[in-house]
Amino acid sequence: MSRTYLGMPAFPRAAAESTRDGTLRANLRHATHTIRAKRAAAVAELEDWERLRAAGAAVKDRTLHHLDHYLPLLEENVTRAGGTVHWAADADEANRIVTDLVRATGEREVVKVKSMVTQETGLNAALEEAGIRAYETDLAELIVQLGDDLPSHILVPAIHRGRREIRDVFRDRMADWGRPAPEGLTDRPADLAEAARLHLREKFLRCKVGISGANFMVAETGTLVVVESEGNGRMCLTLPETLISVVGIEKTVPTWRDLEIYLQLLPRSSTAERMNPYTSMWTGTTDEDGPRDFHLVLLDNGRTDTLADEVGRQALRCIRCSACLNVCPVYERAGGHAYGSPYPGPIGAILTPQLRGLASPLEESLPFASSLCGACYEVCPVAIDIPEVLVHLRERVVEGGPVTVGGNRTVIRPAKRHALERAAMRAAGWAFDHPAALRRAQRLAARTRRVHPRRLPGPGRAWSDTRELPEVPEESFRDWWARTRGERP
């Protein structure tokens, strides 16, 4: 049974546990710091990076604003080129459409290109229920699937695994899914890659149905684009007879000209490469070449609702490069699973609560899973101001306010568990707006400073368990000023 993200605990609890995992922390630290430095070097090569970045944001914003124009245009052009377009309002509908399409072929197995959006909809589990086996063919997704695990990174889903663990997973599980691992498999990367290659090859050659996502959809011609590093995508996109692509509606760009921007921004930001090894583009179907049937499933699943939020909508610009994960100090310690979604890290902290709504304590906790250090915004190739959106979503959690759910504008109430904090914030706000009261509180704290405890009880323990409390000075600055400058307090 494929694991799902259902019923995951709120971020602080999951993160408290994963932060204690020394191996995980060491793996993540090594991986993210390596790619961090490489990305910086790849980006520094381009003199016009800031202008590219601004263009990347502007084209996405404009396209998102006019999706009502570009999506029908895309549909028209995909259809004209021999494809069939399906519209899915939510994850269940998308999974149903895909399941029915696979059933109609009479096939019981499919090969998959790495796809975030089918992780989002939980497609593999839905197919499994319908008796259809989905084979992940991206190396890291294969590791995750064989290990009955969940992805923890957008680009490198098995980033939390060391090579010895991967060797064990291959050795113990490959036989359950097809060709077993070679005898005496070592943990050398080349040997592991060769084992995966042999295991996957027979699936590429056998499977008649391929399932993919897409990085971009070009409205003017109905062309889909997949960028990848391993070539497994190219196999899945060209060898099967039927190709089904599930794509979020925000992946649309108007013209080929616009691709120029993103095909520079994406590889440098994600793998720190000037250009990714494989860029596959296809427009509908072509006689005697590639799949004979092509289906495009356009997925909404909360995107239109997100688009209605004027601060939060910038999250839809995301091109899934994962640069924000690689620089995030919180992601580096907590790991991807703590975010309870296929979208971990800073982008996940603003995407998940918007796509799913503030549906459970997990979604409510995600906007707070950041120290607001701003490193994510700095590296984002489409200039998503993630800290701004985080603060905005925090407000929706603690104060409630207007949101759009299923296309309907509604007002949500403040989350219950923040009642104590709300009272404390109100009191602090009042004291700060009444400096006389603030001064009285400061003097009281100064008079009692000798008896202040070193460790706090209750919620204060969260501070004093690992940090000394600051000593309260004998005299506040305010009182010092009044005393030495002779002004009346």
Binding site: S370, S371, R394, E399, M425, L469
Partner: protein
């Protein structure tokens, strides 16, 4: 030149020595310093935790308190960033919410305050045009650039240039300097485990420099870093940059 010192609530309450150091430093450089007592908190703790509406009266209060000052100087990068980035945003959000009256007042207040507000090192380097403030501090020091100073304000090498001109000071490089210390306001208690892990890594890097002190342009980060260092019995002490720059006899007041 009349400067209003925006000391900030954290410094006022917990680190008055930093406020006193700013006064000493600026007066030594010939600046007339004023402390309007109507000031309190910029509203950052409320705003960053999601209580934007609670921050509105503090925006108006801060702007009113410094209405008559040519310059507003604060020894806190994050409070300066709050004024510069969040104040205009708070006004814009009020307008978007259909509250034109409040929005107009907030916008007017923000527009008056923002262009006059300077973080201390910006004021020293950009307005006064000094990098040698006549300080003497014969100790080894490392510098933590804090996220708001580094990324929100873009202080770049201003603090470093000031430190490099301090007589006798030996600056030690901090590994991973641009990484967050893990404070993050209410993040420090809401996600205590991750915050503590970040703090421990930062504290370890600081201790490894072998410096006698770590300095920064923001005391809120230093409370977290200092609390972590102290709990780990590290010999390194925390100092606000202003306290070093104010020092002429080599002894921190």
């Amino acid at each position: 030149m009349r400067v209003g010192l925006f000391v900030t609530c954290v410094n006022d309450t917990l680190r008055p020595s930093t406020g006193r150091a700013v006064v000493t430093l600026l007066e030594r450089l010939g600046v007339r310093v004023d402390f309007p007592t109507a000031q309190s908190c910029c509203g950052q703790p409320l705003y960053n935790t999601g209580y934007r509406h609670g921050a509105e009266p503090l925006l108006l209060r801060t702007a009113a308190a410094f209405a008559d000052h040519e310059y507003v100087v604060t020894p806190s990068a994050s409070c300066a960033a709050m004024v510069r980035d969040a104040y205009p945003r708070i006004a814009a959000r009020a307008a978007a919410e259909g509250r034109p009256g409040e929005a107009a007042r907030l916008r007017a207040a923000a527009e008056r305050l923002v262009p006059r507000t300077y973080e201390l090192t910006e004021f020293l380097v950009d307005v006064l045009g000094v990098v040698d403030v006549g300080a003497r501090f014969p100790h080894t020091v490392t510098y933590h650039p804090t996220c708001h100073g580094l990324r929100a304000l873009g202080l770049r090498d201003r603090p470093r240039r000031l430190l490099e001109h301090v007589e006798g000071l030996e600056l030690r490089e901090l590994e991973g300097a641009d990484e967050c210390c893990g404070f993050g306001g209410t993040f420090a208690v809401k996600n205590a485990a991750v915050s503590a892990a970040m703090g421990a890594d930062k504290a370890r890097a600081i201790t490894r420099t072998g410096a006698a002190a770590v300095c920064a342009a923001d005391n809120s980060c230093l409370l977290h870093i200092g609390g972590t260092l102290a709990r780990e019995d590290s010999p390194v002490r925390t100092l606000h940059l202003a306290e070093i720059l104010a020092c002429t006899d080599g002894v921190v007041p």
